[in-house]
Symmetry: C2
């Protein structure tokens, strides 16, 4: 038929218009071509109620203010983390949540102590630094040695024996945030994690890294590092971008650069801590569980506001909003505030161990650990491919219920460090995704403070968590089934 039709320009125009129209109509439902029969759009009014109630007023920022200002930062094993656990239990009880409890976890107690770095040659100047979490100490009068600057592992290898008895500085810059590629944190953080090990293998006496951030006002950023097994352990610290650049430029000009590094850092063994757990008990299938959570511990600088006070208060307040609206879902929504995410993941490991008997009844576990910014969607992963495919369609349908919050994307791959420990159990692992354009400016630094969190963005992120958890917990079919 096609060949025989003679198109006039008008007919062509009408035809093109029709085609566009039909395509448009088709695309309305194009993302879920084989949407399950049970239509999640019946949850639209509940989703709208949740979002409007959150925006009309919620306690996420008040809770964050209490955590950040009354408790402050709270590294594993610190008195402050104990206070944070007490605060969270108290707050969840005050909200009237069910089964509020602190579940015991042993965590490492690493103590920073006093620390400093000073440029000694070619001139004396203090350097802005933070020791890396897990580092060993220097001798009391520090380590004074020449600095060798390398850009990456390849440059270190090329130097061969030349770094013996020297301090190695990994001056690898993290690229600026890119709307397509994101933060580049993943590629750059390897020097923080493993730099000391690489440098020690070459005979270096200490390891410095350029802070893992793209923006700096002479800000040092700490974070976890690891020596691996059986390696010689050398002290490791992060310098501000400014100081790393200064040393690199001095060295590039042929100057001999000598630094004195002093760190009292010490491992004080294992101490008691706890995951904080609370529930919005399900009305029909209370033994089926949707976990939402963040981690209560932080690094020992700033307020741990975006990382991860925000994720904790979002989870706490999500169930608070649902309870106030009397939106009691079919299944149980369980808030879990994990301890020791930053330097051990012992909270997550202990949770999986303690709840092994009910892990099969965990439908989903949603972690918020990317900061309290404007929500942009959810990532997910599920080992069962059939379930993953069915679940993705359901998650897309739920995301569409939140259109008031802006476009929400469902992305396959990735979730969160804590919920990631449940991987082998077949549960849907999920992560709240947010606008990450400034997260790594603050992350693990003195700058991660309450004032960086916009209450409106935190509210919308809280609402996104509440809608997602509610619909997964309430819909008749289990997530991933149809």
């Amino acid at each position: 038929m096609h060949e025989r039709t003679r198109f006039t320009p008008l007919a062509a125009a009408v035809s093109a218009t029709l085609f566009l129209l039909l395509t448009a109509v088709a695309s309305l439902d194009a993302r879920q071509p084989d949407e399950p029969a049970n239509d999640l759009s019946s949850y639209r009014s509940a989703a709208e109620r949740i979002i409007r109630a959150a925006r009309a007023g919620n306690d996420s920022h008040t809770k964050l203010e209490e955590l950040c200002l009354d408790v402050g930062h709270r590294l594993s094993g610190s008195k402050a983390l104990d206070e944070a656990v007490e605060w969270a239990v108290r707050a969840l009880r005050a909200d009237g949540q069910d089964n509020v409890r602190a579940e015991h976890v042993m965590v490492p107690r690493w103590v920073r102590g006093r620390e400093s770095a000073e440029l000694i040659e070619p001139r004396r100047a203090p350097l802005a630094m933070l020791g890396l979490g897990g580092s060993v100490a220097t001798p009391a009068d520090g380590i004074t040695a020449e600095v060798v600057v390398v850009g990456d592992e390849r440059q270190l290898d090329a130097l061969g024996d030349a770094v013996r008895d020297k301090i190695v500085l990994f001056n690898n810059p993290m690229p600026p945030y890119d709307t397509i590629r994101g933060s580049s944190y993943g590629e750059t953080v390897r020097f923080r994690h493993g730099g000391a090990r690489l440098a020690a293998d070459k005979g270096a006496v200490a390891c410095l890294i350029r802070s893992v951030t793209a923006r700096s006002l002479r800000s040092a950023h700490t974070g976890a590092m690891s020596y691996g097994n059986g390696n010689r352990r050398i002290p490791a610290a992060a310098l501000s971008i400014e100081d790393a650049e200064m040393i690199a430029r001095l060295a590039a000009r042929g100057k001999r650069v000598v630094v004195n590094l002093r760190m009292e850092a010490r491992d004080e063994g294992m101490v008691s801590s706890a995951n904080v757990v609370a529930e919005l008990r399900g009305r029909e299938k209370p033994d089926e569980i949707v976990v939402i959570g963040g981690h209560l511990d932080s690094w020992d600088v700033g307020h741990g506001a975006h990382d991860d006070g925000a994720g904790c208060v979002m989870s706490m307040e999500a169930v608070n909003i649902l309870r106030k609206l009397r939106l009691i879902p079919r299944r149980t929504i369980r808030v879990v505030l994990f301890t020791n995410e930053e330097n051990g993941l012992n909270g997550a490991k202990q949770y999986v161990e303690d709840h092994a008997h009910e892990m099969g009844r965990h439908v989903a576990a949603i972690e918020a650990d990317s900061g309290g910014f404007r929500p942009t969607g959810f990532s997910f992963e599920c080992e069962d491919r059939t379930k993953a495919a069915a679940g993705e369609r359901q998650l897309r349908a739920i995301a569409q219920l939140m259109s008031e919050l802006g476009p929400m994307r469902i992305r396959s791959g990735g979730s969160g460090a804590d919920v990631g420990r449940m991987r082998s159990k077949g549960v849907f692992l999920m992560g709240l995704e947010v606008d990450g354009s400034t997260y790594f400016d603050y992350h693990h630094s003195h700058g991660d403070t309450l004032d960086k969190v916009d209450p409106r963005e935190l509210t919308d992120a809280t609402a996104a968590m509440a809608v997602m958890a509610y619909v997964i917990a309430d819909m008749p079919e289990r997530l991933g089934e149809r």
Copy 2:
């Protein structure tokens, strides 16, 4: 004739087009309707040579690197400032400039000493702070007192006797940079300058201010303060935005906030320093002088890169570029690197005193003290209104010669703190203007470091200084005469 013409739509369209065309042609020359007869467009090729030579390669960034990395920050009275003076003399001599000399100036020596601030109640936490320049010390164990937070002078007044024996915190936020209004530094800095005086008048025991910046990664910003005469002197320091906000929020929630402030700050009297002077001697009227300069001193943090290493190296390199191009102007271009701009202006005062005999022969004095960013134009001021009007037209014509650098604006009003001391002498006072959107993020803080200066922007700013100085120094008529 108008009334009698009957316009057809076509005629109307043609007429409108003609009108637009004629308006456009007219506007090509609209900015200088009564341009002086002597046409400065003959300098276009010189201006282009200067800009191209600068962009092909110049030493402004190399000079800045030497000053920032080999000398570092250099507060008045410090050994580092002496080194900076020696460095500048050496560099200007190496460039082959004329009459290179250090002109003696007595400057104050204020020493920061050790300092700290700690939150004591409701919980203990270190605060990011910098003492203000000129502040007195606290007792050795510090001042421990309750903090009263005020937004401005009115709120302080309203409290009456309630701040007696308390620490006053002025938590007045500097608005974000605005492309129309600019930085709002001028309105906000008054608390840094005079806050201690106001607080002391009310019986306060110390004064804290919120750092004068709109962006912070827990960065404290120092700067000059003044007690006035006969006032009780109380210690004064700046807190980071984050810490000021934390205290304000704690207080707003009804918490009693107690801070311990420790400062060893002391005034060590007057010591020797110097302005550094060098010349590109004029070929016809060497006794007529065009000054270009910046200030060599800085605060005692960061590298003093944008404030004002950049202005110094721009001025040094501007004459270097001219000399290399053998562009020897009619009049003398004199580089003056002032000492003690930050806390006394003694360099500027001494220059006016030492050069009183030739002040009448100072044609213009151009200061670069707004950072080494992309140039956007020049401000100017001249007490003689007739000269000012004529000069403005000439400056606009010169600005047009630099179109390769982007649009360059001539703005009436304002110049620079150092050249401002020549005000009563009838000289044209001028200031290089630059894109100031990030300047106050760095200004007077640990973050004002070499890496914040873009070599291409510094080059263009240097070229703008060179073209402006060259044409003013070379044009047959004196600036402001016609």
